[in-house]
Symmetry: C2
Subunit: 347 residues, 2 copies
DNA sequence: ATCCGATGTGGGAACGATGTCATAGACATG
DNA sequence: CATGTCTATGACATCGTTCCCACATCGGAT
């Protein structure tokens, strides 16, 4: 790390307040407020004068003071697990976009999958008096805590407080079933599932979808083929290496998210196996790399950007109508058939 | 999109204020403030009592009121171009992490490469009275505007106001020179540059680095080989397709960022060319897919997470010492040699 | 001439937290 | 006993905005 020095400091006078604008325009603070916000009477010539004065002074109303007075802010909190994961990044992008549309500013925190960080962030959001929060939760703690402070919450991607808070999720069960059924239809009987947890709604439902498809295909479930991996690429890769070196390895793998898929993909390559002739692979959540590698990876695609945007829109509705029944919105997913899936190798 | 209805509404009483805590603890508001913030006297038994009362009531101080009174907030604004680009996502992740470390909340806006959105976001940040802003700027407008409102700014990745504001960037020139020199050393003479702009510091310096390496290798620059692409994958791909079908195509390509590299990569594949035997490829900015595709892509890696974190740390220093000279911090980059570069094909 | 509604405008009290200042009691020192 | 010092607390003004209310002006209707 190199550091070079450059020139010039900064210096500033006091920020203009509504009082300064009032004096400049020769009216009272009340009148300035009315002219600027458009609530209440203000003669058009006066309004003109006030607008010009505000413009000249570079006046920007103080959100702190306004929020304090009105007891309601125009910002929403967004709590996501890991911005480095393209899934959460895109979710945040969607949230950002919808928030801007609706005139909200977005306070974002990356909770790093840590419950403690998550709680701290939640407390900060309460302190900020945000109008609402969208969260990809790790437990029911955050939703409960925020709700107890009267802050509307929307759970995204997974739900811990379904019934008491709004949620926006995707068709996990259907998606997983479709992906697995696709493999079954191709003739696979030994289909492994890589999954990081089955306690959260996402994991549980994807697991169920997998089971359903197997059952529907008349295949008895082999518990050996259900791999509980850790949440990161390294662990997934390690477990995949183990499995692939075992005596009778699966002919196909369904990876329950993009991170696990990456680990499996790397392991397959390291073992020198060919996709799809030796082994088929299908992933839940279509990450950018899946359409760049060769062969391209078949995946269940979810509209992640829209997931974030929908959550913010739902939050907005909730803020407007605090007493209405809570709603769970389910976005549909679809299977993108690419090159990583084919018939199982002949025996 | 399917919607199912679930149960139960929400309802809440007023949020507890410092006054409620004071009454519960049987002391004055002043004493509560002292006990909670630790500034000023408070007998230990009284402190105990206040702490317990605050805990029981679930009291969380109102940041709005505090900021209004103290005239300084504990939040920073972060303005990035596009969260869907892994570069900016990781930058934001680094910023988030460093902000949390230092006790700042992060207000994030995705400015979508639009100058208008950027200005609106900047105005919102002024209104929020953020303690400072880090921005990946599109012009000098934002920095100027924020500075004129007395808000410290740190420019990240590229600089428009070097000299008057702090900056955190990477060694663009060195990185580009190293990457190009690597190709020269392998024997390439016809090396194309894909670049989206040369007006910003990033583009300009990467271009300069490219030129330097060619000159040092005794190669005269062919303007035909310097491709000014648009900023997205589609455009980069289109131009790469053009170039690759031309009469004497280059034997190597240096793509000035991950987006352009993706376009070039896709085009090469579509043209049915082999990397690296037909054509070598090296990229600036190591995106995740580059180590997943086959052959893996040689790239100049920048520590993007650290870029964001360093910017926030620099901002913090600036906030603490508003009058010190501005500083540009340059993070070093390094070339990761992978499989996409080799000697040019024999004639 | 009086009253009335409509149209504007300003005064001033909030919102919740902080911090200055005044003050009161305890205790020591001369 | 008077004075000073230290500890501890509460009263109150303040930050910048909004908005309720009082009030002023004016034209028109009675």
């Amino acid at each position: 790390m190199t550091v070079e020095r450059r020139s010039t400091p900064v210096s500033r006078s006091r920020r203009p307040t509504i009082k300064d604008v009032a004096e400049a325009a020769g009216v009272s603070r009340s009148t300035v407020s009315r002219a600027l916000t458009g609530r209440g009477y203000a003669a058009s010539d006066v309004r003109e004068r006030v607008l010009r004065a505000a413009e000249e002074l570079g006046y920007v109303p103080d959100v702190m003071a306004r929020t304090l007075k009105q007891q309601v802010s125009r910002s929403v909190g967004v709590l996501v697990s890991d911005l480095r994961n393209p899934f959460y990044a895109e979710l945040a992008a969607g949230a950002s976009s919808a928030a801007r549309e609706r005139g909200y500013t977005m306070v974002l925190a990356d909770t790093s999958l840590s419950g403690e960080t998550e709680s701290e962030a939640a407390e900060a959001l309460v302190a900020l008096r945000v109008a609402g929060v969208i969260v990809t939760p790790n437990s029911s703690a955050v939703s409960t805590y925020l709700s107890s402070h009267g802050i509307p919450v929307v759970e995204v991607d997974r739900q811990f407080a379904a019934g008491s808070t709004d949620g926006v999720v995707v068709g996990n069960r259907v998606g997983a079933r479709t992906a697995t059924a696709h493999l079954v239809k191709l003739g696979h009987r030994r289909i492994a599932l890589f999954i990081d947890e089955t306690d959260w709604t996402t994991g549980y439902e994807r697991y169920q979808g997998y089971l359903e498809a197997l059952t529907a295909g008349g295949i008895t479930v082999d518990p050996e083929l259900v791999v509980s991996s850790g949440w990161d690429v390294a662990d997934s890769r390690r477990r995949a290496l183990d499995m692939l070196s075992g005596p009778d390895r699966p002919t196909a793998v369904f990876a329950a998210n993009n991170v696990l898929a990456e680990g499996v993909w790397r392991a397959i390559r390291e073992r020198g196996l060919a996709v799809p002739s030796d082994i088929s692979l299908v992933a839940f959540d279509d990450a950018p790399w899946m359409s760049m590698v060769s062969p391209q990876v078949t995946a269940v695609s979810q509209d992640t950007f829209n997931l974030g945007a929908t959550a913010v829109r739902r939050l907005h509705e909730r803020i407007e109508m605090p007493e209405s029944d809570s709603v769970t919105t389910v976005l549909n997913v679809h299977l993108i058939e690419r090159e990583s899936t084919t018939h199982p190798p002949a025996l």
